[in-house]
């Protein structure tokens, strides 16, 4: 297996074995969340730039926590305080950040493709923390990790996604990841939020169907992904909160249509009483807090992966080990049985 990705911009191009590898690499970091002493010195001296051109609380804190638990420092750029308000271009802003010599850039932006654009102009690794309605790869990974932990596997599951599918990068990252493991998707929400084009967003052959009655959509589900009703990204024609609750809210009665062991994910922050009832949000099938804990582990794995080691020779630190000359700096802990 060759891990050669320098950036993490999207899950769509990654094959199943690399996605599995990323999930596996998150496991040691899940263990660290349970340690009494959670801080490592692994990335001591490294700096992670967090550039959130669009508001975010949990993702920014999660990446910041991941960086600090690895011993890295962070630089923070936030939308309101940034020079973007003073008319600076995106490229000028990231070049300015880059000139302060961070080792990695984590960025969120309201425009789809923004992270990709920036990655083409910077030499440091770029992690997409959400770009418009395109992807949110670390969220897709932490969702898959949560599902795998609870259900034992991410293969061949019935996944029902509820809400504003059209504007959801979380839904897209989930479909791109889980679709490679044989999952089937049922999308459900008000018709204007679930346009026909969504049936084609997966790789060829990934079964995606649209259903407009929530009871039918939940039938036989293993995983229910509830999306937030995103007031900041809503366009006309809209739907009133009352109508949404009536037609699409996940409540205990509707949830009984899903398999008895079905689990519920929500990327947060939740609008309790709108897309999900408190009873369901706090029930034993809900994984929302595990998602948050796993988010730190996944992001630690990504930062470790992209910023440890050197990529100067073009090979990724995670490429299979080749014994190098006179490697005496440690007692040679690697599986290739290198020089000793």
């Amino acid at each position: 297996m060759t891990q050669r990705f320098r950036d993490l911009l999207a899950l769509e191009p990654l094959p199943a074995d690399e996605l599995t590898f990323l999930l596996d690499q998150s496991k040691p970091f899940q263990e660290i969340q349970r340690h009494p002493l959670k801080k490592l010195a692994t990335l001591r001296g490294k700096t992670v730039a967090l550039a959130f051109f669009e508001n975010s609380t949990r993702t920014r804190i999660s990446f910041g926590t991941a960086a600090s638990r690895l011993g890295a420092d962070t630089m923070n750029l936030q939308a309101e305080a940034s020079s973007l308000k003073k008319g600076e271009s995106l490229l000028d802003t990231v070049h300015t950040l880059d000139a302060m010599k961070p080792d990695c850039l984590v960025m969120r932006h309201a425009s789809s493709g923004a992270a990709d654009f920036v990655a083409q102009h910077l030499d440091i690794p770029v992690i997409n923390a959400g770009d418009g309605t395109h992807e949110h790869p670390s969220q897709g990974l932490l969702d898959a990790l949560t599902i795998r932990d609870r259900l034992g596997s991410i293969a061949n599951l019935n996944v029902t996604i509820l809400g504003d599918l059209q504007h959801s990068r979380v839904a897209r990252s989930n479909i791109h990841l889980l679709g490679k493991f044989g999952c089937k998707f049922t999308l459900c929400g008000p018709a204007m939020w679930v346009p026909r084009e969504l049936e084609k967003i997966g790789a060829p052959g990934v079964p995606i169907r649209r259903v407009f009655r929530i009871e039918e959509a939940l039938e036989g589900a293993d995983v229910v992904l509830v999306l937030r009703v995103q007031t900041e990204r809503q366009y006309e024609p809209s739907i009133s909160a009352e109508d949404y609750v009536l037609g699409y809210q996940l409540d205990a009665a509707r949830l009984r249509r899903a398999k008895p062991g079905a689990i519920i994910l929500h990327p947060g922050p939740m609008n309790r009483g709108i897309e999900i009832t408190p009873e369901v949000a706090d029930g034993r099938q809900s994984c929302v807090l595990e998602q948050v804990t796993n988010g730190v582990a996944v992001r630690m794995a990504l930062l470790f992966l992209l910023t440890s080691g050197t990529t100067e020779d073009g090979t990724h630190p995670l490429a299979e080990a080749t014994p190098t000359k006179n490697r005496r700096s440690t007692d040679q802990k690697d599986p290739s049985h290198a020089s000793r």
Binding site: I32, P36, S308, A321, T330, D331, D334, S339, R340
Partner: protein
């Protein structure tokens, strides 16, 4: 550059006898197996620790807990070694506070692995005592670290490599000394 096998240091039965002796030594010096636990360092320390624990069962009739520790995150050279930093899971299914821990590894060389392992252990708690058991000790230390339990000490030069091959990982069982020849 070629790698040439110079000599065999241990055969399979010799490895087995050595581990039996090490198990006896650890139990003797620890005054029994109370509060004793073994921590195998990934990768080849792990099967060695499991085999020592098995030998201890024969001595004391007690199951000594065995944990595994991956030291990758604690290495001091992550940004220098370009190749490979695949993480494996550490699994220490017991509290380390006030325990009498024995780190187990295949070869003691520079001492940096052990330095990293101790950092990892102390993130988990405060053991009462930590000692070190290795199958082979080969000199060339770069840290003030020594092993309390040693299978065999071997004089080596800088260019030589000691390969411990264990059936659980390498499908064969022996210890060989190899050399790099220009």
């Amino acid at each position: 550059m070629r790698i040439v096998e110079k000599t065999q240091l241990m055969s399979a039965p010799e490895i087995d006898r050595t581990l039996q002796r090490l198990a006896h030594e650890i139990v003797e010096k620890s005054g029994g197996t109370k509060n004793l636990a073994l921590i195998g360092i990934v990768r080849r320390g792990v099967p060695l620790a499991q085999r020592i624990a098995q030998a201890m069962r024969g001595i004391d009739g007690v199951d000594v807990p065995v944990g595994t520790l991956d030291i990758t995150l604690y290495r001091d050279d992550l940004s220098k070694v370009a190749p490979q930093a695949v993480l494996r899971s550490s699994d220490i299914p017991f509290g380390v506070d006030n325990m009498d821990l024995v780190l187990v590894d295949d070869v003691l060389y520079t001492g940096r692995t052990i330095r990293a392992a101790m950092n990892g252990l102390f993130d988990l708690g405060r053991p009462k005592r930590v000692s070190l058991c290795v199958l082979i000790e080969r000199g060339h230390r770069e840290m003030p670290i020594e092993a309390q339990y040693v299978g065999r000490s071997v004089q080596t030069s800088d260019t030589e490599i000691i390969e411990v091959r264990l059936r659980e990982i390498d499908k064969e069982e022996r210890v060989v000394l190899v050399d790099r020849v220009e």
